[in-house]
């Protein structure tokens, strides 16, 4: 399902805007990441896309069709094509995963003949077969999260909306989540996922949008965004045998910023940000060698989404 947000806005009091003038185009079958700090308006935007909240301004177009304004709860046909996992989704603790899925399958009005096979299918897909008859209250947090996502996919939606799905998950749970989303992508489902932990998203998403204070800061394909914001940012990793003090003096002279100090493969290592591009780095390298620093490798670090986000945040603050 392709989604288009056109000048979407939400205000609760007519003065302050939780989301303002948000315009996005999310291609069908892609994984779209919505990034921003807490209070940026991600959840509000997702709730509007999920049709559980009415926008104050603008509209949302689903595969070329616009949801009726002020009719969020009458869009049941559209609802059947959406799986939405809001934030803080609790389970019924006394229900087993199979019962829980059956309940939601019926709420999505799946026919009885289709429901039981669908339950079997998602239990297998989400590795919950072994716990199908255990009360949900006894499941681990990762399993519960898988069950919640399974619930969203039970009725085979063409749009899956996940609001902070990795919140509170341990590293293993996060890996499970990535694996699951990979499978979902293979089925051609459009996924919109929000997070304030950027490492979860930058190699998973095809496209991202960064929001701050209810507004879109930047949006597009991950690689394009990184390239766009990397032009004036040169970060290198420098490994050397000895001469750490001398290296610092040379770097200070060239006003290079040491971002991180550590070890790499048993050798001292510095991550430095230089002002002036590749030419400046060549000069610094020559001076380091001249100063007796035994440099082993110099490699440029490609920016990550997190760096772009930090940079944008700094710009906003400044």
């Amino acid at each position: 399902m392709q989604i288009e947000l056109e000048h979407l806005g939400k205000t609760y009091d007519g003065q302050d805007w939780a989301v303002r003038d948000l315009s996005l185009r999310i291609p069908s079958g892609s994984i779209f990441g919505l990034i921003g700090p807490n209070g940026a308006g991600k959840s509000t935007a997702l709730r509007m896309v999920a049709t559980v909240m009415d926008p104050s301004t603008g509209k949302i177009v689903y595969d070329g069709q616009t949801a009726g304004e002020g009719q969020a709860l009458r869009t049941t046909d559209l609802r059947r094509r959406i799986g939405f996992l809001g934030d803080g989704n609790p389970l019924y603790k006394h229900m087993t995963p199979a019962e829980y899925l059956r309940f939601f399958g019926q709420c999505f009005r799946l026919p009885a003949a289709k429901l039981e096979p669908a339950i079997e299918q998602v239990l297998v897909t989400f590795d919950l077969t072994g716990k199908a008859d255990a009360p949900a209250g006894q499941l681990s947090k990762g399993m519960r999260q898988r069950l919640l996502i399974a619930r969203c996919l039970l009725h085979e939606p063409s749009l899956l909306i996940l609001d902070e799905p990795a919140d509170g998950l341990d590293p293993r749970g996060r890996n499970d989540l990535r694996r699951v989303l990979g499978r979902v992508r293979e089925q051609g489902v459009t996924v919109i996922i929000s997070s304030h932990i950027l490492r979860e998203l930058d190699d998973l998403c095809d496209q991202v949008a960064i929001m701050q204070r209810g507004q879109l800061v930047v949006g597009g394909q991950v690689a394009e965004i990184i390239d766009r914001y990397e032009v004036s940012r040169f970060v290198y990793e420098l490994r050397f045998v000895d001469g750490a003090e001398r290296a610092r003096q040379v770097l200070a002279r060239h006003r290079a910023l040491i971002e991180r100090e550590g070890e790499s493969d048993g050798l001292p290592c510095l991550s430095i940000q230089v002002q002036g591009g590749e030419g400046m780095m060549a000069e610094i390298l020559a001076d380091l060698v001249g100063a007796g620093v035994k440099v082993v490798t110099v490699s440029r670090l490609r920016s990550r989404l997190e760096d772009v986000y930090d940079r944008l945040s700094e710009d906003r603050v400044n």
């Binding site: 609760y12 007519g14 559980v52 969020a72 049941t76 809001g86 229900m95 309940f103 709420c107």
Partner: protein, 603 residues
């Protein structure tokens, strides 16, 4: 129609499946079977058993006269079994040449002889129709001088007999007919099979009404409170069910186990009513009970929606049980003993009407006739229709609350007006029909004022905005509230008539009453529309205290013309308190209006 049924099925299926999953259905069925067996056994035991316990139960339920009274009246001695009967019979046999032994049987015979002696006295003159009976009693006494007790003179001084007392006469006749030899019979229940069936019907009906008007609303309310408290309702709003279907499902799910338990009881009620030939009142009971249950379920859900997020489901359950239980107990007490003065209460006590109809169907107790019976029937019909209308309106409000489409209030203006009209009619119908303009008029108005606050709550804008950011159109809501009260007064005047004379003090009365009504509405708005802290809640309670003082003052000023010192009644206690009263009169509305002013103060 088919489409609607399909939609209803789609709404109920997930919730009913959830409610009856696993062993739930089995448990409900087992409970149902146990209840039916219990009712049948208990009914049969009370109706037919001859044990002391069964007899005590019959006596306490008013189904049988006390054993001693019955033995006296019928000149009979009840034995538990054949052995005891034979022993008593032996005691009655004369023994040649020996002094008679003292025994209970002998005492009964001596008591009977003393009664004959009492009515046979030379100065006793019975009415003409009983002179033959007196002659026979005298002859019988004279025939058995051996039964005269030693303390006859003492007994004579305590003896009492009235020719106008039917019990005394029945006893005398029984003694005379039995020729001073009491019947000794083995005790059996006086209730026949038909009465036992009625008794079973009454018990099944009582339990059915209990399930309908207490358990069903309680269970639905608690389940909804749990959904809210655990935030499990939110994901449901994103499914393919509409808000209306969600509400129907939230009702149908918790009700399904209750329905399984209630269904056989309903069968018993109908069967017993059919056998007893009392189908009409039984059907009336079912119709009225169902209407009341629908209203109570909807109100319990609204209550759960209002507090379920902040309060634990257990607390909500205890509160609901307290309210529903109190209403049920009051309903049973009134419904079983409806008198002329109380018949209006069937319009405001949800349990009173159905209990009265259940009693009419199986064990009639109330004897209203003619115009009074018609008045009662009218009120029963009004209460039933009112409950259906209020239930429908409450369901609309629920639908909007659950769906988050209550930005303009959970009730539309016209719906609120209709609710106010129904409440006005119910409140006025609760007042005895003999009442004219007087204190009861003000009681009825106060009676309507309380539920009108619920209607006002339904008009407060909601939606997805936080309460502190909502725009509250205070002026418009106060005007609507005033118009509803006008409707109440209109209905009340139509029913009770206009006051015959209006004194000059009535102007002050109207001012007091107006203040009380306005502040009541402001307190409701303040408590509903904006966040409240504990100090604020205390302040609102103080405000309500002054509302009561002002309301009573207003009523007094309208009905009488008290002295000027009563303009602010607290001044009568102490001048300083009078100043406090005046200060509060001014400050309370101002403080409430300030509290309601939001980001953009409405008016």
């Amino acid at each position: 129609m088919h489409h609607r049924l399909r939609e209803l099925h789609a709404a109920c299926l997930p919730f009913v499946t959830r409610a009856l999953r696993g062993s739930m259905r089995r448990r409900a069925t087992l409970a149902s079977a146990l209840l039916v067996v219990g009712v049948l056994l208990m009914g049969a035991f009370i109706g037919r058993a001859s044990t002391n316990t069964a007899q005590d139960l019959r006596v306490s339920l008013g189904l049988e006269t006390n054993r001693w009274e019955r033995e006296q009246r019928e000149f009979t001695i009840f034995a538990r079994d054949e052995r005891e009967r034979a022993a008593r019979e032996r005691e009655l046999e004369p023994r040649e040449g020996t002094e008679p032994r003292r025994s209970m049987t002998r005492e009964r015979v001596v008591d009977a002889w003393v009664l004959l002696d009492t009515v046979s006295g030379p100065h006793v003159t019975p009415p003409r129709s009983y002179q033959e009976l007196q002659r026979r009693a005298r002859a019988l006494r004279d025939a058995r001088p051996d039964l005269a007790p030693d303390d006859l003179e003492v007994r004579r001084s305590y003896a009492h007999f009235s020719w106008n007392d039917s019990d005394d006469l029945q006893r005398l006749r029984a003694i005379v007919e039995a020729q001073l030899r009491p019947h000794v019979v083995i005790y059996t229940s006086p209730l026949d099979v038909a009465m036992t069936i009625r008794l079973i019907g009454a018990m099944a009906g009582g339990l059915f009404l209990l399930l309908l008007t207490v358990i069903a609303p309680l269970w639905v309310g608690v389940q909804l409170a749990q959904e809210l408290h655990e935030n499990t309702l939110q994901p449901l709003t994103g499914t393919a069910l509409t808000a209306r279907q969600l509400v129907l499902g939230l009702v149908a799910g918790p009700l399904s186990p209750v329905a399984i338990v209630a269904a056989p009881l309903l069968g018993l009620v109908l069967l017993a009513a059919g056998l007893a030939g009392r189908m009409l009142p039984a059907l009336g009971m079912l119709a009225m009970g169902s209407a009341m249950a629908a209203m109570l379920v909807a109100l319990a859900m609204l209550g759960a929606l209002a507090v379920g997020r902040q309060r634990a489901p257990g607390i909500v359950g205890i509160a609901l049980l307290g309210l529903l239980g109190t209403a049920a107990i009051a309903g049973i007490a009134v419904g079983l003993n409806l008198s002329v003065d109380l018949l209006g209460t069937v319009s405001v006590l949800p349990g009173a009407g159905p209990v009265h109809l259940a009693s009419e169907a199986f064990v009639p107790r109330t004897h209203l006739s003619g115009a009074r019976a018609q008045e009662l029937d009218l009120r029963l019909v009004i209460a039933t229709i009112g409950a259906v209308v209020l239930a429908a309106l409450a369901m609309r409000a629920l639908e909007r609350r659950v769906g988050g489409t209550h930005g303009e209030g959970a009730l539309r203006s016209s719906e609120a007006g209709l609710a106010a009209l129904v409440l006005a009619i119910l409140a006025v119908a609760a007042v005895p029909s003999r009442a004219d303009f007087g204190p009861l008029f003000f009681v009825a108005t106060a009676l309507a004022l309380v539920p009108l606050q619920l209607v006002l709550m339904g008009r407060v804008p909601g939606g997805d905005a936080p309460p502190s950011l909502r725009h509250i159109p205070v002026g418009r809501l106060l005007a609507e509230h005033a118009s509803w009260l006008g409707l109440v007064l209109l209905v009340a005047f139509m029913a009770a008539g206009l006051p015959e004379r209006v004194g000059p003090g009535a102007v002050f009365g109207v001012v007091h009453l107006g203040w009380a009504v306005m502040v009541t509405a402001l307190v409701t708005l303040r408590a509903t529309a904006r966040p409240t802290s504990i100090p604020l809640k205390l302040w609102l309670m103080v405000c309500l205290g002054f509302v009561m003082i002002e309301y009573v003052s207003g009523a007094v000023w309208c009905l009488e013309s008290p002295s000027g010192a009563m303009l602010f009644p607290m001044a009568a206690a102490h001048p300083m308190l009078g100043f406090v009263h005046v200060g509060m009169f001014v400050w309370i509305p101002i403080s409430l209006l300030r509290g309601l002013a939001g980001p953009r103060a409405g008016g």
